[in-house]
Amino acid sequence: MPLQKDRKAAIQAAALTVRQDTIRMVHRANSGHIGGPLGMADFMSVLFLEHLNLTPANRHAPDRDRFVLGNGHTCAGYYSLLSQKGLVPREELERFRTLGSPLQGHPHRNLDLGIDFSTGSLGNSLSVASGMAMAAKKRGWPARIYSASSDGESQEGQIWEAATSAAHYGLDNLTVLVDFNNIQIDGHMRDVMDVRDLRVKYEAFGWHALDVDGHDVDAVHDALLAAKAETKRPSALICHTILGKGVSFMEDQPGWHGTPPSDEQAKAALAELGA
């Protein structure tokens, strides 16, 4: 089913809030990552609002859907979505990256808040998500397991170990959304270490793989439906995005991968985002 108009508007509003929250959180903490969450905001909002079965009521249910943020450094946007879904109190966003906060600089497992796994070390996530998907199959649960990853994380060898085993065990309940923005911390990915065509690679590993415009919420929604319809194979959605999307001076700038904004920059960014 295509997205209804009001659902699409809600997703776009959520993505805007993700972008605003991210700027505020990273600015307040004076540390953290902005570019990734801004680029991922659209496809993550489709996933969290329209597909991921995670609510305050079912957060402790063993058979619900799961989400593992492989590129854990982009967690400001993730925390914003958990807050928009009622799992993380709004005021907690203000304590991001400070002493004693459950919203650590990289995610730490906290089922009360809907944070399904501890991540931050690139490469480890797809193995964990595969284990969750195997468990759901063994238990006979209808749960779907989602993981976010990135072009940079795809440089890690363990991703391809997991891609091998997930295909071997036919984990059709597993979907990875790969944020492909051609930027990593040292520069443009194509210059640092080109991972080339990830759709072709995942297909070669035996996955159902699609290229998607990661900012086109209808296209992402359709791709997630196609992943759900797939039987026997795990799905990889290669989401092509622009790092820093929504703030003109951040877009496609490797410098905005992991730098906090100054007061003036934060103000200008929020103004562009209509806040």
């Binding site: 593992v68 796994f117 797809l126 193995s127 964990v128 170990e161």
Partner: protein, 327 residues
């Protein structure tokens, strides 16, 4: 001191020898019959680690992950996050060396029920040589918060360590051997987290061993007794947490402690004992084991003798340490 019912009759009758990896394989079959929530993962070494029999009997609960240890540990973590108790096995070299970061990030940080039962630890791998003789695994696992580390001395203690691991919440590392070792404990012996086993009483010095070095340590104590030295012998299978009470009592009552392990002395059992004694009741210590070298190819027996980890070598070190003891 364990009573005689908890010890095998070493002195009388023929010695029975069993590898701790075989005890692991059998303990898994018992667990499989008792518990539906136990899964076993292996990385293409199930014949050697002895998980294969579990896989044959409970195919739906056995997952072969191929030659990919990092992915095996991550997958184990994902399964454990969904409520399973997962045993993950490979050789100690790969399970703790190649996958250390996954053990830290995906198992220990979220404190999951992943039990890493690794075989072919230490010198007694034998002919395969230094690439396969893992001598740093206890160090690597012991430094991790939330990780418990067990190094059982024989097949009875190994089976017990597996049983205890299966009912102890959180990550556990169990170090197992390829080579057959004499059975020391009797069937009624019960292993407990953080508890050592006092195997022989003595007050001239104490010998703290674990794993395959416990049997030669007991033999060494017998040799020392012939020369008039009474050595206390402790099996410290639980390296983390350590039985600090037993270790400090040995420091107070014996005045010198020799640690013995088929492992680097840096970071392993010797370090654990030295840390405890240094902070609690300083006495002379000698950490006997591998010092700044990797192993080499030979039979297990030849290697233990070459590196002084047989009864004669341990007795010689004990005498040397005893001569340094404060009087």
């Amino acid at each position: 001191m364990l009573d005689s019912s908890q010890l095998a009759p070493l002195a009388t009758g023929p010695k029975r020898s069993v590898a701790t990896r075989n005890a692991y394989g059998e303990a898994l079959l018992t667990l499989g019959a008792e518990r539906e929530d136990v899964l076993v993962l292996d990385a293409d070494l199930s014949g050697s680690t002895k998980t294969k029999d579990f896989g044959k009997r409970y195919p739906a609960r056995f997952i072969n992950m191929g030659v990919a240890e990092a992915n095996m540990i991550g997958t184990a973590a994902g399964l454990a996050a969904q409520g399973y108790t997962v045993f993950a096995s490979s050789f100690a070299m790969f399970a703790t060396g190649k996958a250390w970061e996954q053990v830290r990030q995906s198992v220990c940080v979220p404190e999951l029920n992943v039990k890493i039962a690794a075989t072919h630890a230490g010198l007694t791998v034998g002919e395969d040589g230094k690439s396969h003789q893992m001598l740093e695994d206890v160090t690597l696992m012991r430094v991790l918060p939330h990780m418990k580390v067990f190094v059982p001395a024989d097949s009875v203690e190994a089976a017990e360590a597996i049983r205890v691991a299966s009912i102890t919440p959180g990550p556990v590392y169990i170090r197992l051997s390829r080579a057959s070792t004499p059975v020391i404990f009797g069937a009624s012996y019960r292993f407990a987290v953080g508890k050592g086993a006092l195997l022989r009483e003595g007050r001239d010095l104490a010998i703290a061993a674990n794993g395959v070095t416990v049997a030669p340590a007991l033999e060494a104590a017998a040799l020392l007794a012939e020369q008039g030295l009474q050595a206390r012998v402790m099996s410290l299978a639980s390296v983390s947490p350590l039985d600090t009470e037993m270790v400090l009592a040995a420091a107070r009552e014996c005045g010198a402690i020799l640690t013995v392990e088929e492992h680097q002395v840096n970071g392993g059992l010797g370090s654990a004992v030295a840390e405890t004694v240094g902070e609690g009741h300083p006495v002379p210590i000698y950490r006997h084991g591998m010092r700044g070298t990797f192993g080499q190819s030979a039979t297990a027996e030849v290697l233990l003798a070459h590196y002084g980890l047989d009864a004669a070598g341990i007795a010689a070190r004990a005498k040397d340490l005893h001569s340094r003891k404060k009087r």
